[in-house]
Protein backbone atom coordinates (compact mmCIF):
# COMPACT_ATOMS: atom_id res chain seq x y z
CA UNK A 1 0.00 0.00 0.00
CA UNK A 2 1.34 3.45 -0.93
CA UNK A 3 1.66 5.97 1.91
CA UNK A 4 -0.60 9.05 1.64
CA UNK A 5 0.95 12.14 0.04
CA UNK A 6 0.45 14.36 3.08
CA UNK A 7 1.47 11.73 5.58
CA UNK A 8 2.00 14.07 8.56
CA UNK A 9 -1.53 15.46 8.27
CA UNK A 10 -2.84 11.88 8.00
CA UNK A 11 -1.02 11.00 11.23
CA UNK A 12 -2.56 13.99 13.01
CA UNK A 13 -6.04 12.97 11.86
CA UNK A 14 -5.60 9.30 12.83
CA UNK A 15 -3.84 9.80 16.16
CA UNK A 16 -5.32 13.09 17.40
CA UNK A 17 -8.32 14.17 15.29
CA UNK A 18 -10.36 10.97 15.53
CA UNK A 19 -9.61 10.33 19.25
CA UNK A 20 -10.60 13.93 20.06
CA UNK A 21 -13.91 13.46 18.24
CA UNK A 22 -14.52 10.21 20.17
CA UNK A 23 -13.65 12.01 23.43
CA UNK A 24 -16.16 14.82 22.84
CA UNK A 25 -18.78 12.32 21.70
CA UNK A 26 -18.35 10.34 24.93
CA UNK A 27 -18.43 13.47 27.08
CA UNK A 28 -21.58 14.91 25.52
CA UNK A 29 -23.51 11.73 24.70
CA UNK A 30 -22.88 9.81 27.92
CA UNK A 31 -19.79 7.78 28.59
CA UNK A 32 -20.90 4.57 30.26
CA UNK A 33 -18.79 3.75 33.31
CA UNK A 34 -16.30 6.63 33.02
CA UNK A 35 -16.62 10.13 34.39
CA UNK A 36 -15.26 13.16 32.53
CA UNK A 37 -12.04 13.32 34.60
CA UNK A 38 -11.25 9.69 33.77
CA UNK A 39 -11.93 10.33 30.09
CA UNK A 40 -9.65 13.37 30.24
CA UNK A 41 -6.91 11.22 31.80
CA UNK A 42 -7.30 8.69 28.99
CA UNK A 43 -7.16 11.48 26.40
CA UNK A 44 -3.99 12.98 27.96
CA UNK A 45 -2.28 9.57 28.10
CA UNK A 46 -3.28 8.83 24.52
CA UNK A 47 -2.16 12.29 23.32
CA UNK A 48 1.27 11.99 24.96
CA UNK A 49 1.93 8.65 23.26
CA UNK A 50 0.46 9.84 19.94
CA UNK A 51 2.64 12.96 19.96
CA UNK A 52 5.76 10.84 20.52
CA UNK A 53 4.91 8.81 17.44
CA UNK A 54 4.01 11.84 15.31
CA UNK A 55 7.17 13.71 16.38
CA UNK A 56 9.48 10.76 15.70
CA UNK A 57 7.90 10.02 12.32
CA UNK A 58 9.77 12.72 10.33
CA UNK A 59 13.11 11.11 11.28
CA UNK A 60 11.98 8.00 9.41
CA UNK A 61 10.02 9.74 6.66
CA UNK A 62 12.62 12.39 5.78
CA UNK A 63 15.51 9.93 6.18
CA UNK A 64 17.39 11.94 8.80
CA UNK A 65 20.92 12.52 7.47
CA UNK A 66 22.40 12.28 10.99
CA UNK A 67 20.96 8.80 11.45
CA UNK A 68 21.94 7.73 7.94
CA UNK A 69 25.53 8.98 8.45
CA UNK A 70 25.75 6.75 11.53
CA UNK A 71 24.39 3.79 9.54
CA UNK A 72 26.82 4.42 6.66
CA UNK A 73 29.82 4.57 9.02
CA UNK A 74 28.55 1.61 11.08
CA UNK A 75 28.16 -0.55 7.98
CA UNK A 76 31.47 0.46 6.33
CA UNK A 77 34.07 -2.30 6.03
CA UNK A 78 36.80 -0.25 7.73
CA UNK A 79 34.52 1.00 10.52
CA UNK A 80 35.51 4.58 9.75
CA UNK A 81 35.09 7.04 6.86
CA UNK A 82 36.39 10.47 5.89
CA UNK A 83 34.03 13.44 5.40
CA UNK A 84 34.60 13.21 1.65
CA UNK A 85 33.64 9.52 1.55
CA UNK A 86 30.45 10.33 3.49
CA UNK A 87 29.70 13.30 1.23
CA UNK A 88 29.89 11.09 -1.87
CA UNK A 89 26.94 9.04 -0.58
CA UNK A 90 24.55 11.97 -0.99
CA UNK A 91 23.16 13.94 -3.88
CA UNK A 92 21.45 17.34 -3.89
CA UNK A 93 18.28 15.61 -5.03
CA UNK A 94 18.23 13.40 -1.92
CA UNK A 95 19.14 16.07 0.59
CA UNK A 96 17.33 19.18 -0.66
CA UNK A 97 15.15 18.83 -3.76
CA UNK A 98 12.97 16.14 -2.18
CA UNK A 99 12.45 18.30 0.91
CA UNK A 100 11.40 21.22 -1.31
CA UNK A 101 8.97 18.90 -3.15
CA UNK A 102 7.51 17.75 0.18
CA UNK A 103 6.98 21.34 1.34
CA UNK A 104 5.02 21.91 -1.87
CA UNK A 105 2.96 18.74 -1.32
CA UNK A 106 2.24 19.75 2.31
CA UNK A 107 0.92 23.10 1.06
CA UNK A 108 3.67 25.10 2.78
CA UNK A 109 5.17 26.68 -0.34
CA UNK A 110 4.07 27.29 -3.89
CA UNK A 111 5.93 27.87 -7.13
CA UNK A 112 5.12 31.12 -8.97
CA UNK A 113 7.15 32.32 -11.96
CA UNK A 114 9.88 29.75 -11.21
CA UNK A 115 10.40 30.91 -7.61
CA UNK A 116 9.10 29.45 -4.37
CA UNK A 117 7.09 31.60 -1.98
CA UNK A 118 5.66 30.75 1.43
CA UNK A 119 1.96 30.14 1.92
CA UNK A 120 0.36 31.98 4.91
CA UNK A 121 0.31 28.83 7.10
CA UNK A 122 4.05 28.31 6.54
CA UNK A 123 4.71 31.95 7.39
CA UNK A 124 2.87 31.50 10.70
CA UNK A 125 4.78 28.29 11.47
CA UNK A 126 8.20 29.72 10.70
CA UNK A 127 7.52 32.92 12.67
CA UNK A 128 6.46 30.79 15.66
CA UNK A 129 9.70 28.81 15.38
CA UNK A 130 11.76 32.02 15.21
CA UNK A 131 9.87 33.46 18.22
CA UNK A 132 10.41 30.23 20.18
CA UNK A 133 14.16 30.21 19.41
CA UNK A 134 14.40 33.88 20.38
CA UNK A 135 12.79 33.06 23.74
CA UNK A 136 15.58 30.52 24.26
CA UNK A 137 18.18 33.11 23.22
CA UNK A 138 19.09 31.09 20.14
CA UNK A 139 19.49 32.17 16.50
CA UNK A 140 17.40 30.39 13.83
CA UNK A 141 18.45 26.75 13.45
CA UNK A 142 21.20 25.88 10.99
CA UNK A 143 19.23 23.03 9.47
Amino acid sequence: MKPPKNDVLTLFVIFLGIPLCVFFLLVFKGQGNWDTIELLQILILHSSLALVYIASYPAAQAHSPSLSILLIIGSSAKGHLTAEEINRQYTTDQTIIRRVDELEIYGMIEKRDNVFILKPIARVIIRLYIFYRRLLGLPPGEG
Binding site: M1, P3, Q41, L45, S48, L51, V52, I54, A55, S56, P58, A59, A60, A62, H63, S64, P65, S66, L67, S68, I69, L70, I73, G74, G79, H80, A83, I86, N87, Y90, T91, T92, Q94, T95, I96, I97, R99, V100, E102, L103, M108, I109, R112, V115, F116, I117, L118, A122, R123, I125, I126, Y129, I130, R133, G137, L138, P140, G141, E142, G143
Partner: protein, 150 residues
Protein backbone atom coordinates in the same frame (compact mmCIF):
# COMPACT_ATOMS: atom_id res chain seq x y z
CA UNK B 1 14.99 29.43 28.71
CA UNK B 2 17.48 30.17 31.51
CA UNK B 3 19.45 26.98 30.87
CA UNK B 4 19.70 27.70 27.13
CA UNK B 5 21.14 31.15 27.93
CA UNK B 6 23.37 29.81 30.72
CA UNK B 7 24.97 27.00 28.71
CA UNK B 8 25.48 28.76 25.39
CA UNK B 9 28.73 26.93 24.64
CA UNK B 10 27.35 23.42 25.10
CA UNK B 11 25.61 21.51 22.26
CA UNK B 12 22.01 22.75 22.31
CA UNK B 13 20.55 19.23 22.22
CA UNK B 14 22.47 18.35 25.39
CA UNK B 15 21.08 21.45 27.11
CA UNK B 16 17.54 20.50 26.03
CA UNK B 17 17.96 17.00 27.52
CA UNK B 18 19.39 18.50 30.71
CA UNK B 19 16.37 20.84 30.97
CA UNK B 20 13.96 17.93 30.47
CA UNK B 21 15.65 15.87 33.21
CA UNK B 22 15.68 18.86 35.58
CA UNK B 23 11.97 19.52 34.94
CA UNK B 24 11.32 15.81 35.53
CA UNK B 25 12.95 15.96 38.97
CA UNK B 26 10.94 19.08 39.89
CA UNK B 27 7.68 17.55 38.64
CA UNK B 28 8.35 14.31 40.53
CA UNK B 29 9.06 16.22 43.74
CA UNK B 30 5.84 18.26 43.39
CA UNK B 31 3.75 15.16 42.65
CA UNK B 32 5.33 13.24 45.55
CA UNK B 33 4.52 15.99 48.05
CA UNK B 34 1.08 17.05 46.83
CA UNK B 35 -0.39 13.89 45.23
CA UNK B 36 1.31 10.58 45.95
CA UNK B 37 1.70 11.27 49.68
CA UNK B 38 -2.07 11.68 50.02
CA UNK B 39 -3.01 8.41 48.30
CA UNK B 40 -4.07 5.70 50.73
CA UNK B 41 -3.74 2.50 48.71
CA UNK B 42 -0.34 1.29 47.53
CA UNK B 43 -1.87 0.23 44.20
CA UNK B 44 -3.17 3.78 43.66
CA UNK B 45 0.33 5.15 44.24
CA UNK B 46 1.83 2.69 41.73
CA UNK B 47 -0.86 3.50 39.14
CA UNK B 48 -0.45 7.24 39.64
CA UNK B 49 3.37 7.07 39.43
CA UNK B 50 3.21 4.91 36.26
CA UNK B 51 0.63 7.22 34.65
CA UNK B 52 2.61 10.35 35.48
CA UNK B 53 5.88 8.89 34.21
CA UNK B 54 4.38 7.77 30.89
CA UNK B 55 2.63 11.10 30.32
CA UNK B 56 5.68 13.18 31.36
CA UNK B 57 8.16 11.26 29.21
CA UNK B 58 5.71 11.23 26.31
CA UNK B 59 5.37 15.01 26.31
CA UNK B 60 9.10 15.42 27.07
CA UNK B 61 10.03 13.30 24.05
CA UNK B 62 7.63 15.32 21.91
CA UNK B 63 9.16 18.56 23.17
CA UNK B 64 12.68 17.31 22.47
CA UNK B 65 11.73 16.39 18.88
CA UNK B 66 10.08 19.79 18.45
CA UNK B 67 13.22 21.52 19.69
CA UNK B 68 15.43 19.32 17.55
CA UNK B 69 13.29 20.16 14.53
CA UNK B 70 13.87 23.87 15.13
CA UNK B 71 17.62 23.21 15.24
CA UNK B 72 18.24 20.60 12.56
CA UNK B 73 15.26 20.15 10.22
CA UNK B 74 16.05 20.90 6.58
CA UNK B 75 12.43 21.78 5.84
CA UNK B 76 12.35 24.38 8.63
CA UNK B 77 15.66 25.81 7.37
CA UNK B 78 14.20 26.01 3.84
CA UNK B 79 11.07 27.78 5.11
CA UNK B 80 13.27 30.20 7.06
CA UNK B 81 15.44 31.01 4.05
CA UNK B 82 12.44 31.53 1.75
CA UNK B 83 10.75 33.73 4.39
CA UNK B 84 13.92 35.80 4.81
CA UNK B 85 14.39 36.28 1.07
CA UNK B 86 10.68 36.68 0.21
CA UNK B 87 11.05 34.18 -2.64
CA UNK B 88 13.75 31.79 -3.85
CA UNK B 89 14.35 29.78 -7.00
CA UNK B 90 15.40 26.13 -6.82
CA UNK B 91 18.91 27.06 -8.02
CA UNK B 92 19.31 29.70 -5.33
CA UNK B 93 18.14 27.24 -2.69
CA UNK B 94 20.68 24.61 -3.73
CA UNK B 95 23.41 27.31 -3.96
CA UNK B 96 22.87 28.61 -0.44
CA UNK B 97 22.19 25.24 1.23
CA UNK B 98 24.45 22.58 -0.23
CA UNK B 99 24.79 18.86 0.50
CA UNK B 100 28.31 19.62 1.74
CA UNK B 101 26.89 22.03 4.35
CA UNK B 102 24.27 19.49 5.43
CA UNK B 103 26.85 16.73 5.95
CA UNK B 104 29.45 19.03 7.55
CA UNK B 105 26.94 20.40 10.11
CA UNK B 106 25.78 16.91 11.03
CA UNK B 107 29.29 15.54 11.41
CA UNK B 108 30.14 18.44 13.72
CA UNK B 109 26.99 17.87 15.81
CA UNK B 110 27.60 14.12 16.03
CA UNK B 111 31.20 14.71 17.17
CA UNK B 112 30.13 17.42 19.67
CA UNK B 113 27.57 15.06 21.22
CA UNK B 114 30.08 12.15 21.31
CA UNK B 115 28.15 10.02 18.83
CA UNK B 116 31.10 10.08 16.41
CA UNK B 117 34.84 10.15 17.02
CA UNK B 118 37.13 12.11 14.69
CA UNK B 119 40.69 10.81 14.48
CA UNK B 120 43.17 11.60 11.68
CA UNK B 121 40.36 12.84 9.44
CA UNK B 122 38.35 9.63 9.91
CA UNK B 123 34.94 9.46 11.52
CA UNK B 124 34.00 6.35 13.49
CA UNK B 125 31.14 5.45 15.84
CA UNK B 126 31.85 6.55 19.42
CA UNK B 127 28.78 6.32 21.68
CA UNK B 128 26.46 3.68 20.21
CA UNK B 129 23.21 5.18 21.60
CA UNK B 130 22.16 7.12 18.50
CA UNK B 131 23.54 4.38 16.26
CA UNK B 132 21.08 1.92 17.83
CA UNK B 133 18.32 4.51 17.44
CA UNK B 134 19.29 4.74 13.74
CA UNK B 135 19.01 0.94 13.41
CA UNK B 136 15.53 1.02 15.02
CA UNK B 137 14.41 3.85 12.70
CA UNK B 138 15.78 1.92 9.67
CA UNK B 139 13.82 -1.15 10.82
CA UNK B 140 10.68 0.99 11.28
CA UNK B 141 11.11 2.42 7.76
CA UNK B 142 11.09 -1.14 6.44
CA UNK B 143 7.96 -1.99 8.48
CA UNK B 144 6.19 1.06 7.02
CA UNK B 145 7.32 0.09 3.53
CA UNK B 146 9.34 3.25 2.99
CA UNK B 147 11.98 2.91 0.30
CA UNK B 148 15.54 3.19 1.66
CA UNK B 149 17.15 6.41 0.58
CA UNK B 150 19.82 8.39 2.35
Amino acid sequence: MCLARLYRKRPVQQVAIFAIVLAFLCTTAILAVFVWQNLRLFNDVIASVAYSMIVYWGFATFYFHLFNTSETARRIKLLYEIDKAGSLSETKITDMYSTNDIVRLRLKRLVDTNQLRLRDGNYSIDNRLLYFAALIVAFWQRVLGMPYTK
